[in-house]
Amino acid sequence: MKSGQAEIAETSKGIQKRGLMSRKIAIFEFILRIIAFFNTISSAILMATTNETLPFFTQFIRFHADYNDLPALTFFVVANAVVSGYLILTLPLAFVHIVKKKTENSRILLIILDVAMVGLLASGAASAAAIVYLAHKGNNNTNWFPVCQQFNSFCERISGSLIGSFIAVALLIFLIILSAIALSRRH
């Protein structure tokens, strides 16, 4: 009987320790969500405020470059804005996960939504990266001229805004993995 009592005391202490680990995971997820939000919103703003007008004459008729001129960059801005809105809206849910004990169903919902957002964000970032690569290097076989030779600061800006988006993709993947680990734990 005494060993039975000792075992019960041991397992209750074990459950408390594991509850602490689960809480640490939830806090870490909350922080990652905030960092990913800042990354996506800064990428969206950086890309949306690109604007360059050349002050001198060139062979090109075009003197003005904007993110609106390339549909892939427009999609990039929209995707980043949607994902940052989603991350802000799920911050309260992530906070609830820190406090509450029984979080399985909401974690599954969060995994589903996070997977959809990873897909959207990766799509926006990759298509914008393909267009930015083309703007930098051009393509001899298809006679596509590298635009960056004329529009320097525009090119620098659109290249820089890709970085935040790719970091946010990696963070979202990590968030999905953390949610799955938290789901699979014993309590």
Binding site: M1, G4, Q5, I8, A9, F60, R62, A65, D69, L70, P71, A72, E104, I108, I111, I112, V115, A116, V118, G119, A122, S123, G124, A125, A126, S127, A128, A129, A130, I131, Y133, L134, A135, K137, N139, N141, T142, N143, W144, F145, V147, V169, I173, I176, I177, S179, A180, I181, L183, S184, R185, R186
Partner: protein
């Protein structure tokens, strides 16, 4: 024996009498059944995704076209290696289909042992990474396909599809097949997540 701590009275019964009662973790056998069903569905989806990914890689790889007549352009042939994004697409889809083939044994392990969480967690982690990679390849190739179909007036990029119709058709088909593989991956990740839930 009374002391300060709480005492739970465990009735002293023999172990053979205990065996007749319902087990404490009685949900285990029931949830094992439906998790096994999820694993089988996961395996079948994986096979479908292998087909989608390899069709995408193969179609893009064999999308060469040589024009039989003279045009204003100096280039008379078009292939996937003329565009670096399409090269990335072929390599990425090959890697993804190779990964899917290698993950089939792990999926079989989750069928055989439905209650083990380690193989499922591993599959979820790898599937999420493969999903993002696949989506990146598919959407960058889609951006280039859109450009090849429509061109861009602001940057003076001409649509090449007007000359190379066959090449454009095949490369666009490969991109569509790749997006189908992305959908399969999404379902796979969600499936793994649901199956990981402990009752």
């Amino acid at each position: 024996m009374k002391n300060e701590s709480t005492i739970i009275d465990v009735p002293a019964e023999s172990s053979s009498a205990m065996k007749g009662k319902a087990p404490l973790i009685g949900v285990a056998s029931g949830s094992g059944g439906y998790k096994r069903g999820l694993s089988i569905f996961d395996f079948l989806l994986r096979l479908a995704a292998i087909i989608a990914a390899s069709v995408a890689a193969g179609t893009m790889f064999t999308s060469d076209e040589t024009l039989p007549f003279f045009t204003q352009f100096l280039q008379f042939e078009a292939g996937y290696d003329d565009l670096p994004t399409y090269q990335f697409f072929v390599i990425a889809m090959s890697i993804v289909s190779g990964y899917l083939v290698l993950s089939l044994p792990i999926s079989v392990v989750t069928i055989v042992r439905p209650l083990a969480t380690a193989p499922r967690l591993l599959l979820l982690v790898l599937d999420t990474a493969a999903l993002a990679f696949n989506m990146a390849a598919a959407s960058s190739a889609a951006a280039i396909s859109y450009l090849a179909h429509n061109g861009n007036q602001n940057t003076n990029w001409l649509p090449i599809c007007q000359q190379f119709g066959d090449f454009c058709l095949k490369s666009s088909g490969a991109v569509v097949s790749s997006f189908v593989a992305v959908v399969f991956f999404t379902i796979l990740v969600v499936l793994s997540g649901v199956a990981l839930k402990r009752h």
